[in-house]
Amino acid sequence: MKRSAFHATSVALLPLVALVALGCGRTEITIENAIPGATIQGVRWVPSSGTSYTFGEALGPGATSSEVSVSDHDQGHGGVIHFELVMDGRKVALVTGDSFVATANDTTHFRLDPSTAAKNPIATSPTDPNPRPAEPTR
């Protein structure tokens, strides 16, 4: 009887344990396009290691990308976001001036909105080599 109860408890807890195991140690990032009337495409997060994390889909206004997993060595590190801003048939390649940090063991939500600092490499002087950190949202 006791053995049966233990077995039943184990079976009940198994999904919970599996869920915790899956959630732990996994670092992911998403990007939200909060720019009214504009689409962003070719989105890449490039942390200081130089690795490029690509978001395949074009994001319309208000859309959020699917999650992209971040390698262990890029967790907790900041990086700029490269993207193309598209409006009314015209586009410009931009790089954020802010640095976005992927929080370890969590899903970090990067939000691009009209107030986000951004430059075009050919139209201006090179991007600040010491970008200031952006406020990540979860």
Partner: protein, 203 residues
């Protein structure tokens, strides 16, 4: 002869307008591409003359139909397709070098004395050569262009400067249709005459 000179100057200015950034710098507009690879127009060019109309200014009442010297035209406020595009300085160097006849606070010509106005349709920030720093500023720039087809420019206001250095705003509300052809990067709005009907506030 004067017309030939003016057209030669205009041609040179159109070339300059199409290839802006000649000092080696790049503007925000230079960084903008079209999704389909085709160019869109971002510069308007016009020749602007101010003609003396019926006036209550006793010094000018007998000079109707004559033209204010182009060097007295300071700036133009432009509206395109019903939307404010900004205020643009007139080129006070490019024009007929002949000086006009001094009449009161003005220099007048018998023939049109046209100032050239090159209106780059960037944002106010870009025109002042500030770097564009935020996504919102870049979005505003992407939104400022003219697609192929018909458009209407409105000369909302012309700012004149008298020989005494006083400034005078002349409202006109004149409309000028123009067309952007496929592949055009700039458009010539036309040779525009703004009637100058009164001289309020000028002694």
């Amino acid at each position: 002869m004067r017309t030939t000179l003016a057209r030669a100057l205009l041609g040179a200015l159109l070339v300059c307008a199409a290839g802006c950034g000649s000092d080696g710098s790049s503007t925000g507009q230079d960084a903008v591409q079209t999704v389909d690879g085709r160019g869109t127009a971002n510069t308007l060019v016009m020749m602007l003359a101010v003609r003396v109309g019926p006036t209550n200014d006793p010094a000018l009442s007998t000079h109707q139909g004559r033209y204010v010297d182009f060097r007295q035209i300071r700036s133009v406020e432009l509206i395109v397709d019903g939307r404010d595009w900004g205020r643009y300085e007139a080129d006070r160097e490019a024009g007929d070098p002949a000086t006009g006849e001094p009449v009161g606070s003005w220099s007048l010509h018998d023939e049109p004395s046209s100032a050239v106005v090159v209106a780059g349709l960037g944002t106010e920030l870009e025109r002042t050569r500030d770097d564009l720093d935020t996504i919102g500023e870049w979005a505003e720039l992407l939104d400022r262009h003219l697609v192929t087809g018909g458009h209407v420019a409105e000369i909302a206001l012309v700012e004149l400067e008298t020989n005494d250095g006083a400034m005078l705003d002349v409202t006109s509300r004149l409309l000028f249709p123009f067309t952007i052809l496929e592949g055009d990067r700039s458009a010539f709005v036309g040779e525009i005459e703004v009637p100058f009907d009164a001289f309020p506030g000028v002694p």
